[in-house]
Symmetry: C2
Subunit: 232 residues, 2 copies
DNA sequence: CCAAAAGTGTTTTCTCTACACCCATGT
DNA sequence: ACATGGGTGTAGAGAAAACACTTTTGG
């Protein structure tokens, strides 16, 4: 039962698992920061911060991401709240994790550098402080699920992308090889992609057609009971 | 970036969405309480309470459930954290919701009564305080997903149950009619149910065989890469 | 013997998977 | 002309869905 007076108060933080995808080396990456203060100074951690008096958790997460990357209006999703008493050796801190999907090429390099942020491939992460590795694991598990049932993969790609690149993204996240013909049939049959009159010519002589995701179509299909489903 | 000193502190609460299932009227229910204090005294709400200094969020949720129902070792799962600044008009409170699946017949009636707790069918819920309706909605959505991919339905049934009862539970949660033959074939083919030498004779002359869920089998199958999947 | 609920198989449809060759182009 | 990556269709297997009658037994 809630009794407002005399109820204890707690430090509440938000930690951001910032995913990016590099179309060139075909790897899913995390934006990590070198912690600049005690405890655990110099160790790798997620981008985090305390929740202020007059901001919601969502706002805190957006603020932290903005300060680190200069990005607004990014796909972010709350993931889990970590509340063990001793999870942070500095003090009792309750922390809610959010994951963000960003277009890696859009971030403000200068800002990121100032804050000691670095991209690290998900397959070779350094040791992280506290329970941050667990946060990453949980977020990655959710991303793997989400990408099959919601068109969130496009948040990680440039506006225009080729079907090869899209497939490589799915392979990087699902960590398995996908059949090219089956993949293309499935994604194209949803009618969510718009074929552009332009080719990507850097990686092959023939060139690959660019596509882009059509959000309007997706939203109108969704209103009619359509469900995204890429069962890869 | 975290700066421990001078960071603001917040009231942190836990709210429990307590699901129960009545095999007789075949309805999914919620255990709600009449709030005994201001603000919103006399209104319906979820069971909640503030997180103490020396307990984790999980422990707080278990404590609240125990105090209300007398039950321990119940299936509980964290669902979402609600952090809008003005969600509680009494003060700024950040609240993490947990849902619990309990066997309705096991609760301590006396304790529940003292605390003003009442079962209400999910289909005809009263208006709830604050954002509690939203909490219920989100928890129910997750339950609908979970019940298809994890054997959590059994948490809501008595130890021994008939296949008819199990199907009715699925129909109540998924809110749709399920084909009897397909349902039985799927659930039995997983080899998780043990047929008992006893019949339920109250609802029919022929009687229906009792079954029980075999947790050991489930765990050993799970270790071998088996996934529960009742695609209803 | 009849009412009421439990229990039981088969066919059809659809979805998923596996698989190999031609195309376009820059050098 | 050839090397390189892009693009394309079909057949077979397995899963899901649709469907109706028989069994049991208390009264």
């Amino acid at each position: 039962m809630k009794i407002y007076a005399n109820a204890p108060k707690h430090l509440v933080a938000v930690d951001c698992i910032i995913f990016g995808y590099d179309i060139h080396d075909k790897e899913l990456k995390l934006l990590l920061i070198k912690r600049g203060f005690e405890p655990a100074k110099g160790k790798w951690s997620l981008a985090g911060g305390f929740v202020r008096e007059n901001e919601s958790l969502d706002q805190a997460a957006s603020r932290i991401l903005l300060n680190l990357t200069g990005l607004k209006n990014v796909y972010m999703k709350q993931n889990y709240t970590y509340g063990d008493v001793d999870r942070d050796p500095g003090a009792r801190v309750i922390s809610t994790s959010y994951y963000a999907l960003i277009k890696i090429q859009n971030i403000d390099q200068h800002l990121a550098e100032i804050n000691g942020a670095h991209w690290r491939p998900i397959s070779r992460l350094p040791e992280l402080i506290f329970d941050h590795s667990q946060m990453v694991e949980r977020a990655l598990a959710e991303l793997k699920n989400q990408i099959k049932i919601k068109p969130v993969g496009f948040e990680l790609l440039p506006e225009n992308f080729t079907l090869v690149q899209l497939q490589e993204l799915y392979e990087a996240i699902c960590q398995r090889k996908i059949d090219k013909r089956n993949f293309r049939r499935k994604i194209l049959s949803m009618n969510l992609l718009e074929k552009l009159n332009e080719k990507e010519k850097l990686t092959s002589r023939k060139g690959a057609w660019y596509y882009k995701f059509n959000l309007e179509k997706y939203q109108s299909f969704t209103r009619n009971g359509f469900y995204f489903n890429l069962n890869v």
